[in-house]
Symmetry: C2
Subunit: 142 residues, 2 copies
Amino acid sequence: MISFDHHSSPAPEELPSELEGLRMTKQRREVLSVILAERDHPTANDVFTRSKERMPTISLATVYNCLEALVSHKLVKQVNFERESSRYCPNLNDHCHFQDEKTGTIHDVVFKKGVKLEDFLELPQGTEVSHLELSLKGRIGY
Amino acid sequence: MISFDHHSSPAPEELPSELEGLRMTKQRREVLSVILAERDHPTANDVFTRSKERMPTISLATVYNCLEALVSHKLVKQVNFERESSRYCPNLNDHCHFQDEKTGTIHDVVFKKGVKLEDFLELPQGTEVSHLELSLKGRIGY
DNA sequence: GCTGAAATTGGAATTATTCTAATTCGGGAT
DNA sequence: ATCCCGAATTAGAATAATTCCAATTTCAGC
């Protein structure tokens, strides 16, 4: 039984020119494809470095702009661990993150099938949760 | 049924000179008492401002030092919402945080009695979680 | 009351991120 | 195809939170 989330890597290229109402510019496409290519939760700076390989003129500001556009259009998720720099994740399913303290590697962790927030949290009724972030740190079993 | 966590305010003053193996200096005592006095999840800067009222010579660096000492000795919890500045919380019980999008107010939210991580997360067996942070945003029911 | 280690301090430094203002791009109308 | 205009990109400056540094100060144990 696999518990950490694994993905079959979809082809990163050939994205439509508009997605979720977001104009897919060269740079946004590049940034998105970097995030899809290596699903290792890169930081903005990682994305910048990788993007420059294929698009040497891209700027860090643009990478930040693109990331913000992709996140707000829900094509990518932003991942935070305490005050570390934000990381980016293409897994759009409901999930959270586990950071291996040994290696720093971040793994996606899925919620058990059918679990609802009210099942494990004492939330006042009527509370509407618009955003949830659950971050774990620890050591992986062997 | 109360769902958000409420506290009876314990007396902030007269803390011992050593706590959890941490030397309780004037400044650490002051910082801790500020956090205990108003349980509104202040930022480091909030703590600095409030501390200065009674201890005008305290420096921001010291506030950061004290907070780090208190957090690492588990007398206070550090609370993060995305990339906002860290906030500090004297509630040592297992709990998480809900930020009201309307007001910015942060509420403690407790886990349902007896709930374990494995009840709602697909964690590989043998995984040891040493740190968990769950942050919610949304709107409160009326 | 000394002494050494730890804590405090003010200011400088760092880091991630955002802002700014100028330029470029690209799609629709002509 | 060309013009136009709003949006996107860019380089660099600015900001904000936090950490670092080096010089004092404190204080617990002798």
